[in-house]
Amino acid sequence: MSSESPSKPRGLRSYFGFVDGGESAVERKMTELKRRKTIRRLWAVLGVVVGGIAFYLSLLATEFTVSQLLTQFPFFLDALTEYFPPTTYSGIPFIDVAQYWNFMVDAGLFRAAGVTMAIAFAGTVLGLPGALLFGILASERVVPYPFNFLFRATMSFIRAIPALVWALIFIPLGGVSPFTGVLAIMVDTTGYLGRLFTDELEEIADGPIEGIESTGATKPQVISFGMLSQVFRQFIAWIAFDLEHNVRVAIGLGLIGAGGLGLELDIQRKTFNYTEMMACIILIVVLAGSVELMSQRVRSYLRDDDSEETGVLEVFLTAPRKILDSTAGRR
């Protein structure tokens, strides 16, 4: 033990931990700790500076200023009263639901919703044969190992491209129209639903296959009764799930002009008709939510094993996010 006080300051170098040696091992460790702390702080300062510069540049690039926000805010408030037009029902202030309703009727929004459904449904049905074919052929139990990968790879390629991009690719084929929307969803369905089918087929049990073989059944009979009938309900459930997903995709495709509700929303946005825009959004949420609700009830009825059921409110609240996810190709 040294009689000298160990914490006696020895200048700035000592404070930041950049001195050599020390009287004891503990003392040397103390110095090292200080040095490490100094280095950490230097990195933190550097991070804040770089982040600050990037933030400033971003504001410049997007021309975002607080003064802009302040001058525009009254306009936003105005728009808000257009989004949610106020009125009074026997003296109680509330949103003027009649305005939404009138627009929905006048502009034929329900017909547009029908078109969106039609795009989704036709696309799903057209994609189904491909999904079944690729899904079954990609299964190792049906097609032996190296060859089934041909089908798997095709489906992977399809899935790598979101439905929105498929629609853009198909524009030369059908213009910006519901027709192109159907094509895009058809291709998307082949890739996704097929993959779900394959996964489902990988999980089937060997027992029932052997059981059917023992009855003297032929090979096609063994595939359809031993394998496919094991997953029949799951296939139907996946089709319901995919239809639900495709309705959301169809809404997203409408935004780029492929018709239906999405197109109406886009038109109203471009003409700054905020009440009408909100009417479209409401109908979109109701449509996507109802389809999801129905699809989920069908699925939980079909599969006795999983009991996941989302609440009614949750279905509608999460609809906008799910529409965006689906449009971007995620499920």
Binding site: A205, G207, P208, E210, G211, I212, S214, T215, G216, A217, T218, P220, Q221, S224, F225, G226, S229, Q230, V231, F232, R233, Q234, D304
Partner: protein, 263 residues
């Protein structure tokens, strides 16, 4: 009613001999194949069923080689091997696939006689009221009874059952064995059932064939199954508690303690 003839059957897997020179003939009986796990019971049944081929020797059903008569052999599996998500009726109906064309079978255009046979088979195993229930919603014992029904719909001359009650609790095991015996009786089918529970075997069998290390140890009628034979079959460890019993006879109730759990 068929006659099954097994002649000098030997089956080897590489260096391992699963069956060695086994011969027996059964006709119009309910025969139980006894032996510990690995004694060759499953291999024997798989050879008869045509799922594997014996290395040497011959198996004949009514004098014809077994390969020609596969459809007339009904198989009941340990894990029932039914299609889970489908009704009991449709599972039973798959027993008629061999007689039905591919397209007809896809659309369930089976002969009305086959459909009636499926319902009758379900009635035999006491499941007519549950005909439209999904198999996945049934108990293990009920599922195994559907498995019996499917085998019956094949209109087999010979019923094979590989450890049909091994994964069931003692009470269900008894029920299922009861139905299996009844089914064999009603449909006048020769049955060969492998079991490892000696008490259940003794309760239901007409005749007992014992296998040990792939070889035939005994082939006796009911009443001839003595504790010393069983002792010989299983070695001393498994028969502790059985050795001091005088005889094993059909009227005895299966005892929980005697159940051996197969790995």
């Amino acid at each position: 009613m068929s006659t099954l003839t097994v002649e000098n059957v030997t089956k080897t897997y590489g260096d391992v001999t699963a069956l060695e020179d086994v011969s027996f003939e059964i006709e119009d009986e309910f025969v139980v194949l006894l032996g510990e796990s690995g004694a060759g019971k499953s291999t024997m049944l798989r050879c008869i069923n045509g799922l594997t081929e014996p290395t040497s020797g011959g198996i004949y059903l009514d004098g014809r080689p077994i390969e020609e008569s596969q459809p007339s052999i009904g198989m009941i599996f340990q894990q029932h091997n039914l299609v889970d998500g489908v009704s009991a009726y449709l599972n039973a109906l798959t027993g008629s696939l061999e007689r039905t064309g591919f397209v007809s079978s896809l659309f369930q255009w089976q002969e009305p006689a086959d459909k009636r046979r499926a319902l009758e088979a379900l009635e035999t195993v006491g499941l007519l009221d549950e005909a439209h229930q999904r198999v996945s919603q049934m108990s293990g014992g009920q599922q195994q009874r559907v498995g019996i029904a499917r085998a019956l719909v094949q209109d087999p001359g010979l019923l094979l059952a590989d450890e049909p009650v091994a994964s069931l609790d003692p009470a269900s095991a008894e029920t299922v064995m009861g139905y299996l015996r009844k089914a064999a009786g009603v449909h006048e089918v020769t049955a060969l059932v492998s079991l490892h529970q000696v008490n259940i075997a003794a309760h239901f069998g007409d005749r007992f064939i014992g296998l040990r290390d792939g070889g035939l140890v005994f082939d006796v009628e009911r009443g001839g199954l003595t504790p010393s034979l069983i002792d010989d079959l299983y070695g001393s460890v498994e028969t502790v508690g059985l050795a001091d019993r005088r005889a094993v006879d059909r009227t005895e109730r299966p005892l929980e303690a005697e159940r051996r759990v197969e790995a």
